[in-house]
Amino acid sequence: MAFVDKSNEKINALVRKYINDAKENLEYLKKSFKDPNILTNYLFVLPAFILFIVFGLYPFFKVFQLSTMAWDGLSKHMTFVGMQNFIEVLHDKVWWASVLNASWITFLALTIQNGVALILALMCAKDIRGGHVYRVIFYLPPVLSGIVIGLIWKWIFRYPDGILNFALVKMGMQHLVRDWLSNPATALNAVAVVHMWRGFGWGFVILLAGLQNIPHQIYEAARVDGANAWHRFIYITVPLMIPVFILVSILTILGSMQIYDIIAATTNGGPSYHTEVPVTRILASMQGAGRFGYACAQGIVFGVLLLSVSMFQLWVSKKMKQE
């Protein structure tokens, strides 16, 4: 009996605490809305918010509404099908294969692409001669259009006489020669290489900006204390760069999962589904199959997926900041 009483007591205390907190919050809210100082703070975010409500919210809700319909994109008449589109998406094997493909590319991008970007940013952050020149050059790939990238990389990967295969033969590795882009075993990785080559420029620029924000007095002090380059990296650079790392990784995930124009310029989703990605599937539903409502449902499932991953990363970053 005493045990039950004690836990009852605990529950009552908790409840009382929650009610108190709620009361305090309400008081705070009431005070805030009467405080002109706090109200002016809203003005800072107001313009952005107005634009968002007008141009962001309406298409957003429209897409939600359309995802519950069976519609071809044209007729005035739509059939309400409720959650049926979503259920179908969950069972769509080709869809989930495309998500897996994009996830693999994303994984490679997070590790190799960002790793290379970080190393290059570290190199350029030092005061080396010609640092400015290199910085400009590394950002050039994102500037190129998908067409140019497609033409060049298809030329590099061509079988049997593309540059890559040519180099392999010259180096005596004929057994590695293959049709990189149309061989089901290598197609996805080949596309990932093109994506990473183009993408490292983005990460590079942001990481560089982040590195420049660390005052070099801190490094000086550490060097005086006897820390070597590796220690300086682990104990100074990494902790200070964590928010930027999280930022870059969220952007990398968002950018890589939404990969499209490189696929369109090189493999078109082939051979036979091996390089299909979520965006190509959504476009196929929208235009090929004429199922606008289903395409919207796919888009929403995709979005929810990305949102959860990003939210998870932000939560992790908050936890790390608290430590």
Binding site: K76, D179, S182, A289
Partner: protein
């Protein structure tokens, strides 16, 4: 900061001024005498503007030609405009028969049968039979669209085999006697392969082209009725005739007769590669003539090519190729100026304008009264028109989900990832699932 403001003001001013300046060469007509036409044909904007000017000088009606490219952007544009009822007087519907049915049923397309049949079918009679078939919906079609003619064809195209005469000669094949039967086709391929050149190239990365070739084989092996029965779900894809179709691709793949990387090639790339002499045989449409000529204009020797039909696999049915209307336009049913639009289209398809169209775009005109004006290069395609059919004219269409799986299945056979039997069984399962959904 001040420099930035100065720059901004400068740009504002420049844009405003230039905006006014451009109006100079716009033809000023009152709105009731102006029509607008939307299209996606980037390389034909010049011809269209020329023709528009000619029409203006003749009638005082100005047709503004607006180009929206590439075709994906154009498709989204007409979709968005249809949803908001802001379509222009004349436009083209890019897409499948189903897409056109949707546009028609939503009231955006003016039925043209009445106009075509006026004066003892004066307008209709000018066109090739296949062209008219392409632009019509037949009685009792599965889309429930009222039967009739809905689009105006500007040219006709066929899709068949184009071969490089020089490569054939070098491989020991008579360039004026291309292979006719399947056995000859395969043997020719082996001869070409022996000289170190790729044999068959096509844009199989685009789903529909591989399916087109398969459809041609099916037409020859099993005939139209059995194909329709399959789309209706009465015949299974595991039927020996369909397995035969798949195994033809398998045979070519096993002998290495497909160009490397064919399954990810876009049609554009295939055309480019064929122009550069990288393959002996292209499966492509008559529009490619323009590409081949332009690409090799400055080469040492222009491309010498011939046209041939697909190889005959079976004697049970005739050989068939896809053919029908190419560029087509519709009139917006909701426009107040539809009569003016119809008049313009009638003028546009008259022999004199068609001749200009054919010469500038190197395509076969839809008007059969000017065949003598057809450029020589295109004549081979013209002669093949009598073998032409098009699935768009079938009363039953295959489900788009099955269509996609069909073409991806062909790709899988070409890269030797699946056997014909496997693909047939997967298609059969998918077809049954889709048929269940329809109920």
């Amino acid at each position: 900061m001040r420099r930035i403001m100065g720059l901004m003001i400068g740009i504002f001013a420049a844009v405003l001024i230039s905006g006014c300046a451009v109006k100079k060469d716009k033809i000023d007509v009152p709105p009731e005498k102006q029509l607008t036409m939307w299209h996606w044909l980037s390389d034909r904007q010049d011809v269209l503007e020329k023709l528009s000017k000619k029409y203006y000088e003749k009638t005082g009606i100005y047709v503004k030609m607006e180009l929206f490219s590439p075709s994906e952007a154009y498709k989204q544009k007409i979709m968005a405009s249809a949803q908001t009822d802001t379509l222009p007087e004349i436009y083209g519907i890019l897409g499948s028969k189903r897409d056109k049915a949707n546009f028609i049923k939503s009231g955006h397309v003016m039925p043209l049968s009445a106009e075509m049949k006026k004066n003892d079918s004066e307008w209709k009679k000018q066109f090739f039979r296949q062209a008219i078939n392409s632009v019509s919906f037949s009685e009792g079609n599965e889309f429930k669209v009222p039967a009739g003619i809905y689009e105006v064809p500007l040219d006709v195209v066929t899709i068949q085999f184009i071969y490089n005469k020089d490569i054939f000669k070098k491989a020991g094949i008579d360039p004026d006697n291309p292979p006719v039967t399947w056995e000859e086709f395969v043997k020719a391929g082996e001869k070409v392969k022996a000289t170190g050149v790729d044999y068959l190239i096509s844009g199989f990365g685009e789903p529909w082209l591989a399916s087109c070739l398969a459809s041609n084989f099916a037409w020859n092996i099993m005939g139209e009725n059995k194909m329709l029965a399959t789309y209706r779900g009465e015949v299974s894809y595991t039927d020996p005739d369909w397995i035969k179709v798949f195994s033809l691709f398998d045979q070519l793949a096993k002998k290495g007769l497909f160009a490397s990387g064919i399954v990810i090639l876009s049609n554009k790339e295939a055309e480019l590669n064929f122009s550069l002499g990288r393959a002996a045989l292209a499966f492509n449409g008559s529009w490619a003539v323009n590409v081949y000529d332009e690409m090799t204009k400055e080469a040492a020797k222009p491309l010498d090519y011939g046209v041939m039909l697909p190889p005959k696999v079976s004697n049970a049915n005739p050989v068939g190729i896809w053919g029908g209307a190419g560029t087509r336009l519709v009139v917006n049913a909701k426009s107040s100026k539809k009569d003016l639009a119809v008049e313009f289209l009638k003028w546009l398809t008259m022999p004199e304008q068609q001749k200009e169209w054919a010469i500038e775009t190197k395509n076969i005109p839809a008007n059969k009264n000017c065949i003598d004006l057809v450029p020589d290069k295109v004549k081979g395609f013209l002669e093949a028109m009598k073998y032409a059919y098009h699935p768009d004219t079938f009363p039953v269409q295959e489900d788009p989900v099955v269509q996609e799986a069909f073409s991806k299945g062909l790709q899988a056979i070409i890269i030797q990832e699946k056997t014909p039997q496997q693909v047939a069984e997967e298609l059969d399962k998918l077809k049954k699932k889709q048929m269940e959904k329809q109920k």
